[in-house]
């Protein structure tokens, strides 16, 4: 779904109002939308992702959205290890990096919302054992979760 229904917008707005604590920033790496499309450089879901995130960000003052162009902001994208777009990066009360690649549709949208809430509160609901093990990490971990739209 590219654009939220009024009912969904209201539900999300209410959830944000009740549960968002600290600010969350969202960075979107996308491509500049223009009438000219370079063959081989189309990003089929970039526009809908941007529209969706603009709607989400508009539902709370605590959410900010920064839209970056993958081509003109290439150096920044590379320094962050972004190779594919649309790329959504969340930041807030988090220690590591949380990223979404591809339009967050269907189930992934609720994952995105939950991640926004988690990033806002910093309360992760993980067990003490898990937190301890993670704090003892000696090397970097890159976890990729591959999904398909539902």
């Amino acid at each position: 779904m590219a654009v939220l229904s009024d009912r969904d917008k209201e539900k999300v707005r209410k959830t944000f109002e009740e549960r968002l604590k600290e600010p969350v920033s969202i960075q979107l790496f996308t491509q500049h939308e223009s009438p000219l499309v370079l063959p081989g450089h189309e990003c089929a879901t970039c526009r809908e992702t941007r529209e969706l995130l603009e709607e989400v960000a508009g539902l709370s003052d605590k959410i900010s959205l920064e839209v970056k162009d993958f081509l003109t902001d290439r150096q920044e994208a590379e320094s962050m290890g972004i190779e594919r777009i649309p790329a959504i990066l969340l930041d807030g009360q988090v220690k590591g990096r949380v990223r979404f690649f591809g339009a967050p549709s269907g189930y992934e949208f609720s994952v995105l919302l939950q991640d926004i809430l988690d990033a806002s509160s910093g309360e992760l609901g993980l067990s003490e054992d898990t937190l301890r093990k993670l704090s003892e990490l000696q090397e970097d971990l890159h976890i990729q979760v591959f999904t398909t739209p539902t």
């Binding site: 690649f101 994952v111 054992d129 976890i143 591959f146």
Partner: protein, 63 residues
Amino acid sequence: MASERITADAVEVSEYPELINKYNIRGVPKIVVNDRVEFEGALPEKQFVERVLSATRREDQQG
């Protein structure tokens, strides 16, 4: 979100079909850690953490 050393990506593979081949994705969710450990399906937290941490070299040293 719990550790500075972790980057967690959620990837919609339908948009990047080359990844389906690269990681031999036949079922979702498929989880790949440091391109070394992979598993499919959702796991309870404890098992998930164990599988993820098995990608670190420290786990290798412990045999």
